[in-house]
Each structure stands twice: as structure tokens, then as C-alpha cells.
């Protein structure tokens, strides 16, 4: 499978246009602002606690800074809106410019094309995550960190991102319009995120299914520092299902001509 050249091409296209830089810049700016907010709040709290030593014992940095920073509502909105920006061009751009016609005549399998594109998007996402390592580093400068819980949070973010990117790539493979691809992805991700919220109202097995389908439930465990196999499997399943759907969509387009 010739994934490597496709992957390299995707990265080159991301970083030779302002798109990747704009995404990175937006992400770092907003995350920096959130971090500032949460960390200041945390220091204030810890100062109050310092006057009352009995209460300070449970004041965890992970719980009060890292967790809201990555899975608070505002951050979720940021993630859900930047993901479509990463994935919208993956296929739509090739359809629009007609470059797919050439790509599909190269001795590269359709699977390699899908995987290469996916890894390209994942790398950009990884760059975003790496840029946030500055925050735990800053915390660590002032106070000890629970590394295990931090690693768990990042693992959760990584595989959640992979699933989101697969969803976005699939939507991009349905249309040659990048804006429609982005809007469609955003909508689908919001539904995936919030599907569990309705579960409160539904009792019985239906409620359990809804809760299990919801992204927020699964991510929350990682944020608490708990890595459970069913959460890992959930995100990996989601990723694989949408990668396969993207492949089928690409092949359908080939048959349509």
C-alpha cells in the first residue's frame, strides 16, 4: 500500500496554504485564553484553601484545570468547529479541482488514498494537541502533576480526534463543496456529542444505548484519568466505521464516473 506519498502530499497541501496555520493559530489563541482563565481561578481557589488546610487536600490540578480546559463546554465548541475545518478539504477539494481523476489513475489503492488522507488530517490535529503541552508544562513549574491522569486525558483527546476526523472525511467524500462538507461535519459531530443528553429523559435500554453512543460520556472517563477498554473501543469503532464509509463513498464515485 502506497500510503506515504499520499500522506506527504496532504501535509504539503495543508501547510502550503494558510488553512493549517489559521487552524493552529485559532486553536492556540483560544486555548491560551481558556487556560489563563481556569488557571487563575485555580490559584485563587488554592489560596482560599490555604487558609483552611483541611479542605485543600482534594484540590487537584487535573480536575480543576486540565479537565475543564479540554472538555468544558467552551473547549468542546472549539474542537467541534475546528475539526470540520481540518477535514472539509480532504476529498471535496479533489472533486472540485478534478484532481481525483488523476489520483485514481495512479497505482495507489483506494484504501491507501483514504488512509493517507486520514493520517494527513490526524497529523495536523496532533500538532494542535502538542501545542497544548505548554499548559501542563506551565502548571508543572508551579505544582506537581499527576502524569498518569494527564496521559489519560491526552489519549482520550487523541482517539476522540481520530474518530471526529474520520467522520469529517466521510462527509467531505460526499460533496465537492467544502463549506457544505464543513457544515455537515459540524452538525454530525454535535449530534454525536449531545446524543447522550437526551438519555436523561429516556429510561430503560434505549437510554443506555443513547448514553453509550454519546461522545461526551466516553471522553469524560479519560478526563477523570480512567482508561476503560469500552471507551477506547468506542472511539476506534467510530474511526474504523467512518474510514470504511469514506472508502465506499470514494468507490461509488469511481463507478459513477
Amino acid at each position: 500500500m502506497r500510503v506515504w506519498p499520499i500522506y506527504k502530499k496532504e501535509l504539503r497541501l495543508y501547510f502550503s496554504t494558510p488553512l493549517a496555520w489559521a487552524i493552529l493559530f485559532t486553536f492556540m489563541l483560544v486555548m491560551g485564553f481558556f487556560f489563563n482563565l481556569y488557571f487563575r481561578f485555580y490559584t485563587q481557589m488554592s489560596m482560599q484553601m490555604a487558609m483552611n488546610p483541611g479542605m485543600g487536600r482534594d484540590l487537584s490540578v487535573i480536575e480543576n484545570v486540565i479537565r475543564p480546559l479540554f472538555s468544558g463546554l467552551l473547549s468542546v465548541i472549539l474542537f467541534l468547529s475546528l475539526m470540520p475545518a481540518i477535514t472539509m478539504r480532504l476529498f471535496s477539494e479533489e472533486f472540485k479541482n478534478g484532481t481525483l481523476e488523476l489520483l485514481l489513475t495512479y497505482p495507489v489503492s483506494d484504501t491507501a488514498i483514504v488512509v493517507g488522507k486520514f493520517l494527513g488530517g490526524l497529523s495536523l490535529y496532533l500538532a494542535m494537541l502538542i501545542s497544548t503541552l505548554a499548559f501542563p508544562a506551565m502548571i508543572w513549574y508551579f505544582t506537581p502533576l499527576e502524569w498518569g491522569a494527564l496521559a489519560s486525558a491526552y489519549l482520550g483527546l487523541l482517539i476522540m480526534g481520530a474518530a471526529f476526523l474520520a467522520v469529517g472525511m466521510f462527509v467531505s467524500s460526499l460533496t465537492e463543496n467544502q463549506i457544505i462538507a464543513a457544515l455537515g461535519t459540524f452538525t454530525l459531530l454535535i449530534i454525536l456529542w449531545a446524543i447522550g443528553w437526551g438519555a436523561e429523559a429516556v429510561t430503560g435500554p434505549t437510554g443506555d444505548v443513547l448514553r453509550h453512543l454519546s461522545v461526551s460520556e466516553h471522553l469524560d472517563n479519560f478526563m477523570k484519568g480512567v482508561i476503560e477498554s469500552r471507551d477506547v473501543v468506542y472511539f476506534l469503532d467510530l474511526t474504523v466505521v467512518f474510514l470504511v464509509l469514506s472508502l465506499l463513498s470514494l468507490q461509488r464515485r469511481r463507478w459513477k464516473g
Binding site: R254, W255, K256, G257
Partner: protein, 335 residues
């Protein structure tokens, strides 16, 4: 090198090509000729493994384009009609991507890309963004990506469309220089291009092959007569009757009757029979001034017009109840 048998492609209810069969020998340059919407691009897209056919088979270098698609793709270079390139890439990195995707080994890649850029005259443009290239340079980058892996077979869809006359000449000579080592099939609707570049021709109209073979043979086949253009000063009716009387003359057509001026007409005679001497004798006998006596070669254009016109009148006789089914310009669906 290319063998196409009974190839058919349907888009829903619309049949783009029907029972297309032809073959191209190794080292040949074949022109694929037809009006817009005749099915040229469809055929080439199937040959290049971009899309599967609805029926029939096509083999390139001995491999089936559907069942052994990867083998075919390794041996083919394709240039689609509108030259789709990644606008946000620079020329040299783009060619590097194509070479790598086509499996040119790392050790040979750099040298091969330099060679190809040199051959396509784009070495000066290697650091330019593709979006900033002129149409002519885009076309050459497109050709460069087609030949970068040194494929056995080249499929070029309208390689000279939209170029200025000088660029057209350059691209043509480039394609010509590829003959021998590569087998080339190129589509066009410009007839002189075929006579200039190609050794053979396949003519397609309304999705069906209407003629194929070497150019000279097609001309003979469709024009069994030789023609001579004549301009003679003399009484019109007498001149025409006199010429008609010459043995071997099949047909005489007056070109234009411009009042009292000299009579201009076209004489058709059986091929291999030269009637020019007799025409001269006639003029000398009657003391008519012979102003012009010129053999007229048949052009591919006339072959094409004759075939396509013939097809169309046949179609009209066949009284199509569905006139909307006729392929019109732009009827080819986008991929």
C-alpha cells in the same frame, strides 16, 4: 498494446459509448477523433482505469483495465482534458509526489524529474506555484506528470486545447518525439493535428466507432476518386460538357458561377487515372484559356465531414422518435 473490445459505458439511461472496438500497435501514435460529446473522454477514462466500463473489455499492455487495474496503472500515463493539478503545490514537489505515487524508486526520482522537466521545457518554472502558471505551462506540467514514470502507454485527452499556436507546435513535437518508445493515444477534434502527429486514426461519432486505420487508407476508402481543380475561360456550358466527355471523368462540379468570368470547376476521376492531359488538350483544341489545373489532395477533414455527415443523414432517415437522446456538446457528465 491497447486492445479495446465491445466497450460500452452507460450513465443511467444515457449511453456514452456503445460497442467500441479498436486496437493500437506498440510505438504507434493514434488520433482519437470525433466531435464534442462523441465519447472520446469516456473511452480514455476507461482506458486510464479512472472508471470501469458497463460492458466489454479493454486491455493495456496485455492487462485488463478492470481486473488487473494496478498493473495497467503502473504502465500508463494519463492527461485528462482539463489538466487537473494541485494548484497549491509547486511544480517540482508536485512531480516528486507523482513520481513517488507511481512507484519511481527513490534513487532514480531526482534525475528522472529533472529529465522530464527538461523535456517539457518547465525547468525554469520548477519553483513556481502551479496556480500561477499560464495555460501552456499547466499543459506541459500535465504532460510531465504523465511521462514521469516512463510509462509504456500514454493516454492524452485533448493535449493541445486552449494553447496558442506556438505552444501547440511545441506540444505536438513533444508528443511526436515520444513515439516509438511509448504508445500514444490522443484525442482531439482538430483534424490537421491528427495528420501532423499521428500514424493512425480512430474516428468516433455518437459513441460508436465509424472508421479506423492508417490515415492514407481511410482517405482512399472514403474517396475512391482523384480530384482536379480547373479554371478555364470559355463558354460555361460548352466547357462543362466538353470536360464531361473525357473518358474516366466521373463527375464535374462547377464551383461558382461569377457571371461572364472564367468557369471554375472540380473534376473527379477514377483513382489512378490522370485526366489533366486530356483537359489541357481539350482547352488547346477549343482555344479556351486554361488558367488553373491543380490536383487536389483529400484531407482528413473531408473524410471526417463525409463520415459524420453520412452518419447524421442515416440517423435522420432512421427517424429517431427521441431527438433528445442525441449527444450534444457538454453532454458528458462530469466525474
Amino acid at each position: 498494446m491497447i486492445e479495446v473490445q465491445n466497450l460500452t459505458k452507460r450513465y443511467g439511461a444515457f449511453t456514452a459509448i456503445r460497442d467500441v472496438s479498436f486496437s493500437v500497435a506498440p510505438g504507434e501514435i493514434v488520433g482519437f477523433l470525433g466531435p464534442n460529446g462523441a465519447g472520446k473522454s469516456t473511452t480514455m477514462r476507461i482506458l486510464s482505469c479512472f472508471m470501469p466500463a458497463s460492458g466489454g473489455t479493454a486491455k493495456v499492455a496485455g492487462y485488463d483495465v478492470f481486473r488487473e487495474s494496478m498493473e495497467v496503472r503502473r504502465r500508463i500515463g494519463y492527461l485528462p482534458e482539463n489538466v487537473p493539478l494541485y494548484n497549491d503545490m509547486r511544480v517540482a514537489p508536485y512531480l516528486d509526489f507523482v513520481a513517488e505515487a507511481k512507484g519511481v524508486p527513490r534513487s532514480a526520482r531526482k534525475r528522472r524529474i529533472a529529465e522530464v522537466m527538461d523535456r517539457c521545457l518547465i525547468t525554469d518554472m520548477q519553483n513556481r506555484l502551479i496556480r500561477n502558471l499560464s495555460k501552456g505551462y499547466r499543459q506541459r506540467v500535465g504532460l510531465a506528470q504523465a511521462i514521469v514514470s516512463d510509462p509504456h502507454v500514454l493516454v492524452l485527452d485533448e493535449p493541445t486545447i486552449g494553447l496558442d499556436p506556438r505552444q501547440i507546435t511545441e506540444v505536438r513535437s513533444l508528443i511526436k518525439s515520444l513515439a516509438g518508445e511509448h504508445t500514444v493515444i490522443l484525442s482531439t477534434h482538430i483534424l490537421p493535428e491528427v495528420s501532423m502527429v499521428c500514424t493512425g486514426v480512430v474516428i468516433i461519432n455518437r459513441g460508436e466507432i465509424v472508421a479506423q486505420g492508417p490515415i492514407d487508407r481511410l482517405v482512399e476508402e472514403f474517396f475512391p476518386t482523384a480530384r482536379v481543380a480547373v479554371e478555364m475561360a470559355g463558354p460555361r456550358a460548352a466547357v462543362l460538357d466538353g470536360v464531361r466527355g473525357i473518358t474516366g471523368v466521373v463527375r464535374v462540379d462547377a464551383v461558382a458561377a461569377d457571371g461572364d468570368g472564367p468557369t471554375r470547376f472540380m473534376v473527379e476521376s477514377a483513382r489512378g487515372r490522370d485526366v489533366r492531359g486530356e483537359i489541357f488538350q481539350l482547352a488547346a483544341q477549343q482555344k479556351w484559356n486554361l488558367l488553373e489545373l491543380r490536383p487536389v489532395g483529400m484531407t482528413l477533414e473531408e473524410v471526417f465531414m463525409r463520415i459524420v455527415a453520412g452518419e447524421e443523414s442515416e440517423a435522420a432517415v432512421g427517424a429517431s422518435p427521441l431527438p433528445a437522446a442525441a449527444p450534444v456538446d457538454g453532454a458528458e457528465p462530469a466525474p
